[in-house]
Symmetry: C2
């Protein structure tokens, strides 16, 4: 009977010495004079299945020609395996090639560089590394949905196309149906966006937070999980122009409550991935980041530290370290500081109450008038994983901040009005999904945790 490999593992006891049919691909093929071994994988399970055949088979010579990458149907007998690290193997009875693969198939069973594989983005999930990365990506997405849905959050699809900040920010892509070669112009020679599909200049968004807040003011607890766009012309390991974000927003929740949620959520997601992707995590632990599994297990059972930005700077100033950037009470903290502080506390650290000048306009100003109720979560090895804040719920104070920070009030009018119509204390945070994946897999380049990454000058496939 036809089975996915993942099903075979679940039903192993009943399948031993039975005939099974598998369909999948040849990952490797080792030929001997009288025998052959096919490393078979159908993509439903990390580990290959060993298919054994011998010269007794009528089409032995034909089978020996089988090339790596080919799609095959296998009929064989499942037997307990004598080989260590493998629970069973399949003694081949019959093999059919469903789709051939050429001699120069790019994904050969050898070590390829990640740079080479990036150029083969449509084939690279067929390797152990990327097969594991994108399975973890899928499981991790599910973990996030499970956490929020089981805690009563409503999932909101905030819009990607937006006209907010039309005249402003360079951070957003413009989107249009106008013909670039024949842009319509108005009487003053300006581009006439009234001819565009939406009748005005439109953008693709960099955040769902503002729209998320509107829904939190109704459902109490909401989250977004969708793609996000930034135009940054930056070629670093942590920047991509298209990535996914999770942005929960919670009414009747203060900063302490927000940290409780962030901590609980992260532990739940990490536990889920440890449980659902044990083979993948072992693989990363062995071949990508030594100690990864222990790091993740430790996170689940640890208590995250909570400390103010001010006290962090105290610690940094006292540290016997030659800083590249001198820590200061009114300043952001640098990557070297993040690293020091997570090592100092030997675990995740919530840093709260940041100088208001370096944080966003919608964050709640503390009673000191100098800091805002913001919180960044720093984790060992990956730096900032989440950023959140209590939001300013007072309309007048929000207006003051909007003027101070030079925000165009017209574009956020409706958002501010939420404060007039039954506003309340509320908080939210954002988590970059790829940042989380980098933390979970040890793979340190954002290009390698996105199926088809988009970065400056690079938009292939």
């Amino acid at each position: 009977m036809k089975k996915d490999v993942v099903e075979v593992y679940k039903e192993l006891d009943t399948l031993v010495n039975k005939e099974i049919v598998l369909e999948g691909w040849v990952r490797n093929h080792r030929k001997q004079k009288e025998f052959g071994f096919i490393d078979f994988n159908d993509g439903t399970y990390f580990q290959n299945v060993q298919i054994v055949y011998d010269s007794q088979l009528e089409d032995f010579l034909e089978i020996q020609k089988l090339r790596v990458g080919s799609a095959i149907r296998v009929v064989g007998t499942l037997v307990s395996s004598p080989k260590e690290g493998q629970e069973f193997e399949v003694i081949l009875k019959q093999l059919e090639v469903l789709g051939d693969s050429p001699e120069d198939y790019p994904i050969q069973p050898k070590r390829h560089t990640r740079e080479f594989l990036r150029e083969q983005a449509y084939l690279r999930p067929r390797t152990n590394l990327f097969g594991a990365v994108f399975r973890v990506r899928s499981a991790c997405a599910m973990a996030i949905h499970e956490y929020f849905q089981s805690h009563g959050y409503v999932y909101v699809h905030t819009p990607l196309i937006t006209t907010t900040d039309c005249e402003g920010s360079d951070q957003m892509f413009k989107i249009t149906t106008l013909d670039f070669q024949n842009l319509p112009k108005d009487e003053e020679g300006q581009v006439d966006f009234s001819k565009d599909l939406f009748g005005k200049c439109a953008y693709v968004t960099g955040t769902g937070q503002l729209h998320g807040e509107a829904f939190a003011m109704c459902y109490k607890k909401i989250y977004t999980f969708g793609p996000t766009f930034r135009t940054e012309n930056s070629n670093t390991k942590t920047h991509a122009n298209e990535f996914w974000m999770i942005e929960p927003e919670i009414a009747f929740c203060d900063l302490e409550g927000l940290m409780d949620i962030e901590e609980d959520m992260l532990k739940s997601v990490v536990s889920y991935v440890l449980t659902h992707c044990p083979k993948e995590i072992e693989f990363f632990d062995s071949f990508v980041e030594s100690g990864l599994k222990e790091k993740l297990e430790k996170l689940v059972s640890s208590k995250f530290v909570r400390i103010t930005h001010h006290d962090v700077v105290d610690i940094l100033k006292k540290a016997d370290v030659k800083w590249e950037f001198m820590p200061d009470y009114g300043e952001d903290i640098a990557k070297e500081h993040e690293r020091y502080i997570t090592e100092y506390f030997n675990g995740p650290v919530f840093i709260t109450d940041w100088p208001k000048e370096i944080k966003a306009w919608y964050m709640k100003v503390n009673e000191d008038g100098k800091t805002v109720a913001a919180v960044d979560l720093e984790v060992p090895g990956a730096g900032e994983l989440m950023g959140g804040s209590q939001r300013e719920e007072d309309y007048d104070k929000l207006m003051t901040r909007i003027k101070e920070m030079g925000v165009d009030q017209n574009t956020v009018d409706w958002f501010c009005n939420l404060r007039k119509f039954g506003g309340c204390y509320h908080s939210g945070f954002g988590m970059g999904f790829e940042r989380l994946l980098i933390y979970l897999t040890g793979v340190d380049n954002i290009r390698d945790v996105i199926p088809f990454p988009r970065t400056p000058k690079s938009c292939d496939y």
Copy 2:
């Protein structure tokens, strides 16, 4: 102790006659001389909670001033309710206004038109109708993830920004970081896209299918679930320029197998929504589409009909109906035909084997050389809900179709190459998420099932 209303329902037995604290919003306020009744809702449960207070309270007169829309904190005693259709009510001890709401708050406890509420998109989830719609949207999204994940599918985030079809299709939005007022030009006076962020003209995509197939050729079973964009300048009830799609793709799966999956998935999702949103479905059944609940329950237990396009046309031709569009073997079927055929079979109908001329280039041509192995699922009341096909796995046949249909081969090169590297028979389908929501809720305008809809000339908030 502080509780979400949804928690109160779960713990009702232990909470009776206990003091509880609730935080949420005033949906209605009915005042009498000696009494008052507040319809309270915190967004975690469809039904309002009745808060009862009387003139014994010290701040009785103050409380009587409470306006609809206000955010409040309530301390009171939970008691079994004497009123029909309500399991409990809360006897008020103490009330605190957290956020006031003005006399002219737009969402008053009366019937508003859907057109008016569309203009209040950021407030409309506070109404019964939209509160129910967007909770069902969230539950339905989770149902889809649960179905595919529990059946071993890998969730793939296919890219939204793409350079595929750069010179062609009017169906896609162009995306750019160039300055519209100062477009860089090359020597021939053409727009110089080498100056754009990606170094070429880029688009936002209308489908994840091609990228999904690449991942199916590795994981066997994958699905996408993400936003999709179309530039159609069409103001109908079923068109939006931004919507969400689910696109599963399955290797080693033929058309019959695909229909099995579609049927199983749809029944599972409908069951999930019936179980998780019973109050919402009852509400739609009473106020939006009479008979909705029965329709959904019937779908779960029915066996979907499978019939060829040819045989459908036979039935249509024999029907004693004056058609606006005459049914024909070589033609698409019209909305009136869809309606007739689902009524004829009194349930969902898979229509298979369509004339190849009216279907996409990547669909597998049947042995007759005239039809393709495509399938549309038609459901009573909502028409086409899913469209899928077995894909052409033969490289040469695919090339023939590409030429016949005038597809730009360069832009789909890598996709075609999947046939060379261990290609296999495989199938997939697409389901518009909003189409499914229209079917599930009875709400018939796509603008009313999307949180912030984007349609021609309309891109507010």
